[in-house]
Assembly symmetry: C4
Homo-oligomer: 273 residues x 4
């Protein structure tokens, strides 16, 4: 859907996931750090969360596919126009394909965390592939458009391929909080950038059009991308701080003495460079 | 051989290997997981399988070289045409070179798994080099052809170089089931894409020709590549499920009690994130 | 600031940091090697140094932002020129953005080394991101300039992206002296190259102008870049030698006997390849 | 020196080093495998070899620099031609710069293996940098030449950058026989390819000139590069086999009984996938 909503929809999906991850992973990290206190129920709890996350991901993907296929000017599952001897609504089909891989990733998440047959790292591998496919299709997607249109999509690819590499590294470094926070920030960046693309290419509410061939606009938009990322870093940092503060407050209330001991011991092992 | 058969032949080779890997590695993984039950004979068995695999690879490579050289319009081992002062059948020679490196990889497989002198990881290294050489030659292969012809071959390179990197990682992470399944899926993708290239460039049975300069065709073929990969993932997942189900069924019949204990213990160690 | 000072300022920042790192890391390495002798106070001392380093980095970034914004011909925080309907002083804004990310990196350094809530590797991750953003903005920065102008900036990118990758590796290999020295040398290279760019593009003191379109100049400048790096390597090696010599001299004065024992034991473990 | 000798000289250097490495590393590997038998003197012996290797490397680099500077049509250390206001003999100066970094690498080798102050991995890091600089300078070296001239140099870059990455990996995986053999093969490839470039661009003995703009020649030369690599692999494999056979023969003569025990034990630990 080459309009504002077609960019706002995936943008919202990515924002929701990015924000959620920026809460989940710090929480997991804080719980793991204070293992003895939070041991009861936390493991099965986190496993249930992973399953729900996979289900939500698959649901979002399904919504995306349905929206792309059955909007009024969509292809309605028709791929080839026999009268005009050309492919029908290829853009919508490409977007559907992107959603399809995120759907597969969601299903793999569910299977990985409900059964024991699949190795754990498979959820990361499949997500990494899904993100790569998104970038791969976008790369060939923008051929032959206006300069600024191409540029905003190419900028998106930086966060997409960055995310794919980051998630692939998680296959080997599972549970690395640095990579998890990095992924969260890239996901928020992608989400907010989809909204930005929508505002630039299809100004809502009859706002002024952007000059798609102006070199100044291109320089500005590149810089704007960095500001989006600074904003994403700020969000992730704020969420990390809040979650850490929340966990420590709750800890102090329950077991003030024991906690202090644990904390000091952890500092020592952390410092060991 | 720039015709349908010249693409169907390597395509079939890759499909056979991809399918075989998508059975072998899950089987190995399941046996390793249930080590105490399957310990008898499995190690020497798998070693013999590796030797056979190497022999089949070398045989396929030899068939490929012979086919490229001795088809009616082939070079018949002649490299330089002295009358016309130009190289003779360079395409066939390039394909022969690709097969040659797969042949070397097959021989290295055999030597690695029969003698003890060669370090184990050498089989992966040599396979990685063989796949890289394939991609390297393809990259310079398509210079100056029609747009769609170039594009379908460049798409192939994604799976080729992806496979080469994946196998190179296996040098350091040998026996990582994630990488092994990833490799299997890329190999199936390559095989099915060779068939697709054959159908696009040389439609068999007098089918309609593809317009090699149409932009819509290019967008479609990119998407089609992703569908092929979704299909490859599905095949690998199905084979993985079948093998795992088969191993567990067989286990339950023989030692139901002991098995349960083993399984629960494994879950615990797997969960340790 | 597209003038000599605008390149000398960041150049000096990078030179100061590079030189400082080429002293700090060998010192840390020598102290760690002679652990038993230097144990008292060294850990808290190095931690305090990290905090100060972060504060200096943030201060430099602030100076850079203020200089870019409030020089006489700067934007003075004005982004859009409503009269002429175009963006205002985009170059200065881009430079401010680069400094901003270094500022964030400085703040993260301080937080990481004062509180215990943030994982240690976060300081490296954020520095890696800051360096990447610098390279990212430079890459789109030089569009449409003279050949030699583009070339000197692209050469800079080699050290920038090299540095970013090196620091990212440090997330996983923290405390690896090889990577730390490599980073120091790249940082010195970047600093001295900023000065070189200033001298080439804005010859100070009314020196002769460089012909920005001459192919010979381009070849020379590429080679000159390598000489800068040879010089950076020499500086790092000299500092490494001096620091090591200083630590060992100081050791010999205090505990000559014990030292010998330690040294011989270390040699043995070092040799174990 | 843009003539046959100017390519044969570095080609011979690389060939000598490649061949030497393809003997040294298998020998080291075989000795390490049979540790208990070969323990006496082997460690100090190998260390002395490393020092000699560094000295030879530095000597070769010095010969290269002197040859580039003081051939009859060389720059004789003159960099700028003040009469004609242009740089003097930039090609020779670029080659000298390449040799300079190999010289630094040689010196670092010597220092690393004679004193204990420098971390061991530094020799690999510096060699990796030297190889990278070679590729970096070659990349900007060939601008504006004939098609085939550019192509043969770009092909060289594959082995140069491949070698640089391989050596950089050795910083982290020191003593990995796979990487060491890979490096040997790439070094032999580089050496033989330098000779090939000499034969193509400056046919010695008044042979027929190559048509530098012919597309067929370009395709052939790409394939020829792969054959060179197949040849390099063969040489490394042959040397590996000879060395292994030699070590085992010598072992059998001295301690036949003890050896058998060691061997069988090793097989077991090797098999543990």
């Amino acid at each position: 859907m080459a309009n504002f909503k077609g960019h706002a929809l995936p943008g919202s999906f990515f924002l929701i996931f990015g924000l959620w991850w920026s809460i989940k992973y710090p929480l997991k990290y804080a719980c793991k750090k204070n293992k003895k206190v939070f041991s009861i129920g936390s493991k099965t709890g986190f496993q249930r969360i992973e399953v729900i996350e996979g289900a939500v991901k698959a649901a979002f993907a399904l919504i995306g596919i349905l929206a792309e296929q059955f909007v009024p000017d969509g292809p309605h599952l028709k791929l080839y126009n026999r009268e005009e001897h050309q492919w029908d609504h290829l853009m919508n089909w490409q977007h559907s394909t992107m959603y399809l891989f995120y759907g597969i990733s969601g299903v793999v998440d569910i299977v990985t965390h409900t059964t024991k047959a699949v190795p754990l790292a498979m959820d990361r591998m499949m997500l990494s592939i899904a993100v790569f496919i998104e970038g791969f299709l976008f790369y060939y997607h923008v051929h032959g458009r206006a300069m600024l249109d191409i540029h905003v999509h190419l900028l998106l690819l930086v966060s997409v391929f960055g995310g794919s590499i980051c998630i692939f590294l998680e296959v080997f470094h599972r549970g690395n909080i640095i990579l998890e926070l990095f992924r969260s920030s890239l996901c928020i960046l992608q989400g907010s950038w989809f909204w930005q693309i929508g505002f630039v290419l299809y100004p809502p509410g009859g706002g002024p059009e952007w000059d798609l061939m102006d070199h100044g606009n291109m320089l500005f938009i590149t810089m704007c991308y960095c500001w989006h990322y600074a904003f994403a870093i700020f969000i992730v940092a704020a969420n990390y701080g809040l979650v850490t503060w929340f966990v420590q407050t709750k800890l102090k209330c329950t077991q003030p003495m024991e906690m202090e001991l644990l904390k000091s011991r952890e500092h020592e092992s952390d410092d060991d460079i």
